[in-house]
């Protein structure tokens, strides 16, 4: 039993189910389309903005506005990749074939991560260029300072969201339970915690709040975030590692 064999097997698994195609395509389409729409609207409103808003106008970040919705499709992808095994009963067949549970879980996650990164980077670059096209004269260029970092960071952010979901699904096993927790958390709760003054101090350490910092090029004026773009991505990575460790420990200890 080598990891190479298991990785090949997991690649066959992931490419042979329909959910891979529809979740990832949805992530691309939603992120790009919503990003274009919001970029176009922002471009029209620019002239009506206050001076303050104009100073912190971040065309790069605006073209990634679709990610708030597109990341939900990435969450579904991450959850289904892992929890499909449990909801179908395939897990017993899989673990009988690969009794080394660590090899099994991390091969699966490695394959899904590489795929998510490829899709995430494509999404991020397409969202950037099409978003900038909508922004007209207010657009940023890929050659501007920190813009390339933000665009690549956008792809990494989407990937980490998916991997975090894989770890949570490995802990919870049930797809409905995992989605029922992750979707409202990332769509609503995290945003509320991050924007209400009382909870902002804690909210800014949540994985998506911290990680999305990598996509910002212009820092807001009254910004007092205690970490920079890379620090934020690091905080998000810690969340991901914690989720993966939790999933691994539980898989290792549980009866299949």
């Amino acid at each position: 039993m080598t990891a190479v064999q298991v990785v090949r097997s997991e690649w066959t698994k992931i490419r042979s189910v329909a959910s891979t195609v529809w979740t990832l395509s949805l992530a691309v389409v939603v992120t790009v389309a919503l990003g274009m729409l919001i970029s176009a609207l922002s471009s029209n409103e620019f002239d009506d903005m206050s001076r303050r808003d104009r100073l912190s106008f971040d065309p790069t970040f605006i073209s990634f506005a679709g990610m708030s919705l597109g990341q939900l499709a990435m969450i579904v992808f991450g959850v289904l990749v892992v929890s499909n095994e449990y909801s179908t009963g395939m897990i017993r067949t899989s673990l009988a074939a690969v009794p080394q549970r660590g090899t099994f879980l991390f091969s699966k996650i490695a394959v899904a991560t590489v795929l998510a990164l490829a899709v995430g980077l494509v999404t991020s670059f397409v969202a950037f260029f099409l978003g900038q096209a909508m922004l007209g004269s207010h657009r940023a260029s890929i050659g501007d300072a920190h813009v390339l970092r933000a665009v690549i960071g956008g792809g990494v952010y989407m990937t980490l969201i998916a991997v975090f979901s894989m770890g949570v699904a490995a802990m919870l096993r049930s797809p409905m339970l995992s989605l029922g927790i992750l979707m409202p958390f990332f769509f609503l709760i995290s945003n509320i915690l991050g924007n209400v003054d009382a909870t902002k101090k804690i909210g800014q350490y949540l994985p998506d709040q911290a990680g999305s910092r990598i996509m910002q090029v212009v820092t807001p004026l009254d910004d007092d975030t205690p970490y920079g773009p890379w620090g934020g991505l690091g905080i998000m990575a810690l969340w991901v590692i914690a989720a993966l460790l939790g999933g691994y420990v539980l898989l290792k200890r549980r009866d299949a």
Binding site: M1, R8, T12, S16, T88, A97, D255, A256
Partner: protein, 330 residues
């Protein structure tokens, strides 16, 4: 060869598997028999390293399951027909299993052909009937050409043709010298396929014996007699050393006597007989009596349906019966 030693699984307060020790040998079909909930599936999952034993040990060819390099080449298992992703085609399901164990992908086409699913190889498994799902599961078990095969209730839900096919498959695999371990809750099914029998009830080992011995010891034969001259006949038979038990409504059951002998004795003493018939208890009855004390889910006999009560709840105190039987084996 599969060796179990003191294998135990506890779920909270409940002992699902209790100190099982037995060996499954190559070259024959070993039937694993027990009522529903006896612990058969739990035992099989522990054999495959899916569930962790509370105590005891299972070894596959002398090794722990998770120490096997490419386990599908040692042991193939059908646990349940639903243990697959319904959205994946039959071919891809087998392909991912083959790749994980370094099995050449041409084996996929071979086993699909063996189980007769070549025509639907590219169809999604969720469209399969129970029988087809069962066949796909068996194809997965055969994939690594393993020396040991394990089937959990393989005939469940199959049509007669499918049952016939599985029986022949198991026999031919055993004839090739492989170890075949198959569970069932039907004695009649085992009587047709198994050479050796392991019986459990409530997680405990009740019997570990060859099929032939089980039949010889458990197919109780007796002679059923009805007579208006009951007392005289009882005396005559008692003198001749034949034990008789009364089974109600004037029927006598003579154990260990042949009908010819009893008929001649009755004629000598001019006793009228209304019935004299040799009887044989079925293997199914023997199995039910053996496990009667350990059946977890009894049907209510006072149910408002006109059904005869299960044989399991008839004569002798069942637990003792099983114990006696075990003692006589040793």
């Amino acid at each position: 060869m599969i060796e179990l030693e003191g294998l135990t699984k506890r779920y909270g307060e409940k002992l699902a598997v209790n100190n099982l020790t037995f060996t499954v040998r190559p070259g024959m079909v070993t039937g694993f028999l027990g009522p529903n909930g006896a612990g058969k599936s739990t035992t099989m999952r522990m054999m495959l390293g899916l569930d962790r034993p509370t105590a005891g040990d299972v070894r596959i060819d002398g090794q722990h399951y998770d120490r096997l390099k490419d386990p599908l080449k040692y042991i193939g298992a059908l646990l349940d027909a639903k243990a697959m992703h319904g959205g994946r085609s039959a071919r891809n399901h087998l392909l991912c299993l083959a790749q994980s164990n370094g099995i050449p992908s041409r084996r996929v086409a071979e086993v699909l052909d063996t189980v007769g699913l070549t025509a639907v190889a590219r169809k999604k498994a969720k469209g399969f009937s129970l029988g087809m799902g069962q066949r796909l599961g068996i194809a997965g078990a055969l994939l690594g050409d393993p020396r040991i095969l394990m089937f959990d209730e393989p005939v469940n839900g199959l049509d007669p043709e499918g049952i016939h096919w599985i029986r022949n498959l198991m026999k031919s695999l055993a004839a090739q010298g492989r170890t075949v371990f198959v569970s069932s809750h039907l004695m009649s099914e085992m009587a047709l396929t198994a050479d050796h029998l392991v019986v459990i009830g409530q997680g405990r080992l009740l019997a570990d014996t060859s099929m032939a011995d089980f039949i010889a010891q458990n197919s109780r034969s007796y002679v059923r007699i009805r007579t208006p001259q009951r007392e005289r006949l009882l005396d005559v038979l008692h003198l001749a050393g034949i034990t008789v038990v009364e089974s109600g409504s004037g029927v006598l059951e003579a154990d260990g006597g042949r009908a010819e002998q009893i008929g001649e004795l009755a004629a000598q003493h001019q006793i009228v007989l209304h019935e004299l018939s040799p009887q044989q208890a079925s293997l199914e009855e023997a199995f039910m009596q053996l496990t009667a004390g350990s059946v977890e889910y009894h049907a209510h006999t006072d149910a408002p349906y006109d059904v005869p009560p299960p044989a399991a709840q008839q004569p002798q105190p069942p637990q003792q019966w099983g114990d006696d039987w075990n003692r006589s084996r040793r």
